[in-house]
């Protein structure tokens, strides 16, 4: 019951074309972490159903030279016709701030993402939601490389070749990992707050990775 069955080919809008133009070549494997720009992002949605639900807000911050740059922090709220009850009860999200139309969100977000590496906790879900949101403008997929902090944490504990049945996934939620890495969790369940926590977590994971000999892009993306 994937929505992609109904996919029509939409020709990309000019801002989508501009975005796609950024991807001229792959990041060389030997590039060091200090030289990479990461965009750490999180979305809050009306629910967990890719088919029915949609994005309420988007928060992100960039990392350069392994530093979180607060000046790059963004938080965008999307205007929506329906405000999912489920979302309100879970996240306590209310209609506030300036709300953006889907199109103005898209035109701001793509240049912000650029060709940087995308980071997030369970990033697959966020990317799928974003992909769905961007489809009306002709974006089929994000060419950006991405790293899931959940997968990275698991890899650092268990190695690349781990039997999933041996993992207790409860240990790898954002809450559990923040607790383990002593990151204070004040603003959980706002997109900006979660993106910021994930960025802090990612910095710590990167250091841990370095200790295990994962010290360039080629090693990290495996």
């Amino acid at each position: 019951m994937s929505w992609s069955l109904f996919r029509k080919k939409i020709s990309p809008k000019s801002f989508v074309k501009d975005f796609l133009k950024e991807f001229k070549s792959d990041i060389p494997d030997i590039r060091q972490f200090d030289e990479l720009t990461f965009v750490v992002l999180d979305t809050e949605t009306t629910g967990l159903d890719l088919f029915k639900d949609h994005i309420l807000s988007f928060g992100a911050v960039k990392i350069q030279e392994q530093k979180i740059l607060i000046s790059t922090a963004v938080e965008w709220y999307l205007a929506s016709s329906k405000t999912g009850k489920e979302a309100i009860t879970v996240h306590g999200l209310l209609k506030n701030e300036e709300e953006l139309s889907l199109e103005s969100f898209a035109t701001q977000m793509l240049p912000y993402l650029g060709n940087h590496v995308i980071i997030g906790h369970s990033i697959g879900f966020d990317l799928a939601m974003l992909k769905k949101a961007l489809r009306p403008f002709g974006l089929v997929d994000f060419p950006n490389p991405s790293i899931d902090t959940k997968d990275l944490a698991i890899r650092l504990d268990h190695g690349l070749m781990v039997d999933p049945s041996r993992i207790n996934f409860q240990d790898y939620t954002l809450d559990s990992l923040c607790q383990r890495f002593k990151i204070e969790t004040d603003d959980r369940h706002t997109a900006g707050g979660d993106a910021f926590l994930t960025a802090n977590l990612f910095l710590k994971l990167l250091k841990l990775a370095c200790k295990k000999g994962i010290n360039n892009w080629g090693q990290l993306k495996k």
Binding site: K24, Q32, V61, K67, G192, F196, N200, K207
Partner: protein, 648 residues
């Protein structure tokens, strides 16, 4: 627009002085500029003696110890924990750190840029006082309340220790020795060494009867050519002396002499009466003399670069070079000297990068051993004009290889190029946004393909080809085999000669660049986007001049001058009628380079966008004056290349 991330940072800051003195808006402005980094035990934030960074530090969580180097090791002077501010000396901006900062446990540190804080210091006397008080007690600003801080005495007492800017204390201080030790060529090695010891000098100049220099012997020659080679001490000095002497005139300017030493890597430079070896020796200058009179000198930096393969060290040396640059610019040192020194430093980094890359891949590709290649710097670095570490543009040419080695060569040289580019990135030279770099397979090609590229651009000057020509035509080979680059140059001139109309396209392209001044003689500033109301000094003033210089020099068929102001110099020589205009244009370009570099150093960016309102009246006028030769040159080109008849 505040958001939850900025708020979190602000919430933390406001619980600690001096941030608790700030208004809500100021606090938010500071918070917005913070960057956050995570450190593990043992990592260093800075070391004693290093130049101050552009930010100071606050411990968010964990702790950092500040230590002092002593003969017995590092002595801990202070521990900073949550909320402590340190590294504040950077606020003064001009002094090196007096302590080391070493992370004592897992720690999160906030970096606050000095620039934003300087603004607040000006407006908020409480904050200023707080910091002033901190200075008295040394480098650390520890948490304390204001009443204690007011006891501050002897503020800024360390001022006399400022030695970070001793670069050229005063060129006249450099002592050129006029009593040169000389000897005839029938002297034995033993006798020469005796005289050197007696006079306590490190060199002896061998001369003929008229005192014309024939060669030089230094301590190093005695070590390498005599002792190590087991030569008998009775042999004649003419057997070991260095005969290819580079000499200069004794009253040449210091920067000329010094540049000559840097470029030729000379330890000793012999001076003669008329600057040739056919006249009597009048003096000698050694790098030791130069070193003694300087702190942060190009010679020291280049020497240090040549002796390291360590990326971190290379990066920090490049950073020191930037400090030196700033000093030069602020003190109006001649631009061709400044540009040559910075180019030389960049070139040494590239040569080191080349060695690093070759060492890494040599074993893996034994077949590639003898295949010649050269690394090309393009654009501003190719023109020897890159002062700041702005984009790198580069490429690789290699020899044509037999069919069976074709794929392997492509793979090998791409790896070499990628490695070199990464080294440069690590040294702080940003990657090219257009991906014109030796890590892009399109720009790592055998000579035959490069010839095809250029032929194609010249034959079909599309928009893209013209854009490429502004970057690629200014190539310069660095390290490796120059003959490949020379072949390419010959090819280009041959093609341009055959298809002269290409120059009209190039002229049209140079002519159509955006104008620097509006109708009412105001600066044409950017109308929208990030740089709104700023003046793009690169696109509106520098690129048009560089483009015009390239076009005109190409039209004269002159090879081998890449530098824009040297091109104008040459043009003045070639066209005496327009001498005045070309001289003015060359000067204008130098002024623009200086302004841009200073602007960039001041703001820690590329210096490309200048806010005209922030310039003083004098600078505004100076900048405007640089436009008049530009506009005149455009008119000249318009007539000369008949652009009025040019179809669109």
């Amino acid at each position: 627009m505040s958001n939850v991330i900025v708020n979190r940072v602000a919430e933390f800051l406001k619980t600690y002085p001096p941030f608790n003195f700030l208004s809500k808006d100021d606090l938010e402005n500071v918070a917005q500029q913070v960057s956050i980094k995570y450190f593990e035990e043992g990592e260093r934030l800075f070391s004693q003696g290093e130049p101050a960074q552009s930010h100071f530090f606050i411990v968010r969580e964990g702790s950092v110890k500040l230590t002092e180097n002593q003969a017995s090791g590092e002595l801990v002077k202070e521990y900073c924990d949550q909320g402590d501010v340190f590294g504040v000396l950077a606020l003064l901006g001009k002094r090196p750190y007096v302590l080391n900062a070493i992370v004592a446990e897992e720690t999160i540190v906030y970096f606050v840029p000095v620039s934003i804080f300087e603004l607040i210091l000006e407006q908020n006397s409480k904050v200023a006082l707080y910091f002033a008080a901190g200075f008295a007690s040394g480098q650390v600003v520890v948490r304390q309340d204001l009443s204690q801080g007011q006891k501050a005495r002897g503020v800024f007492k360390n001022e006399s220790n400022d030695h970070s800017l001793l670069i050229f204390s005063d060129p006249s201080v450099i002592k050129i020795s006029e009593n040169v030790l000389t000897g005839f060529k029938d002297l034995s090695i033993q006798e020469a060494a005796e005289q050197m010891s007696f006079e306590e000098v490190s060199s002896i100049v061998v001369v003929n009867e008229q005192k014309h220099p024939l060669g030089i012997i230094t301590d190093k020659d005695l070590r390498k050519k005599v002792v190590a080679a087991g030569l008998p001490l009775g042999a004649s000095v003419s057997e070991i002396m260095t005969k290819e002497l580079i000499v200069r005139k004794s009253d040449a300017s210091f920067s000329d002499l010094y540049l000559c030493m840097i470029k030729n890597r000379l330890h000793h430079l012999v001076l003669t009466k008329d600057g040739t070896s056919q006249s009597p020796v009048t003096g000698i200058i050694s790098d030791h003399d130069v070193l003694l009179s300087m702190g942060n000198s190009p010679a020291i930096l280049i020497h240090a670069l040549l002796n390291t393969m360590d990326l971190e060290e290379m990066k920090s040396i490049r950073l020191r070079a930037e400090q030196m640059l700033r000093y030069y610019l602020e003190n109006e040192v001649a631009m061709d000297f400044v540009a040559s020194v910075m180019t030389e430093i960049n070139d040494v980094i590239i040569s080191q990068a080349r060695i690093i890359a070759l060492t890494k891949y040599r074993r893996e590709y034994p077949e590639m051993e003898g295949i010649k290649f050269c690394f090309l710097s393009l654009g501003s670095e190719g023109r020897e004009e890159q002062l700041l570490r702005t984009d790198q543009d580069n490429a690789i040419i290699y020899e044509d290889v037999p069919q069976e080695l074709y794929d392997q060569a492509a793979e090998y040289f791409l790896k070499i190029g990628t490695e070199m580019v990464e080294v440069l990135i690590h040294c702080g030279i940003s990657p090219c946004p257009g991906n014109i770099m030796a890590s892009n397979s399109k720009w790592v090609q055998p000579i035959s393909t490069w010839k095809e590229y250029f032929s194609e651009w010249i034959l079909r000057p599309t928009e893209e080809a013209l854009l490429n020509s502004t970057i690629f035509f200014d190539f310069r080979a660095i390290g490796g085999t120059n003959f490949l680059a020379d072949q390419l140059t010959d090819h280009i001139y041959e093609e341009v000669r055959k298809k002269h109309f290409f120059l009209n396209f190039l002229a049209n392209n140079a002519y159509r660049k955006p104008a620097p001044l509006g109708f009412f003689r105001g600066f044409m500033v950017e109308r929208s986007g990030e740089h709104r109301d700023q003046f793009d000094i690169k696109a509106r003033a520098m690129m048009p001049l560089a483009d015009l210089a390239r076009l005109l020099i190409l039209s004269h068929g002159v090879v081998g001058i890449n530098n824009t102001f040297k091109r104008f110099e040459k043009l003045a020589e070639l066209e005496p009628v327009n001498e005045e205009l070309y001289t003015q244009a060359g000067k204008a370009y130098e002024i623009l380079m200086r302004m841009r570099a200073l602007e960039g150093l001041h703001h820690g960016n590329s210096g490309r966008f200048i806010d005209p309102e922030s310039l003083g009246k004098l600078y505004k006028q100076l900048l405007k004056n640089t436009f008049s030769p530009l506009l005149e040159l455009q008119e000249l080109v318009k007539v000369r290349f008949q652009l009025d008849y040019f179809s669109k």
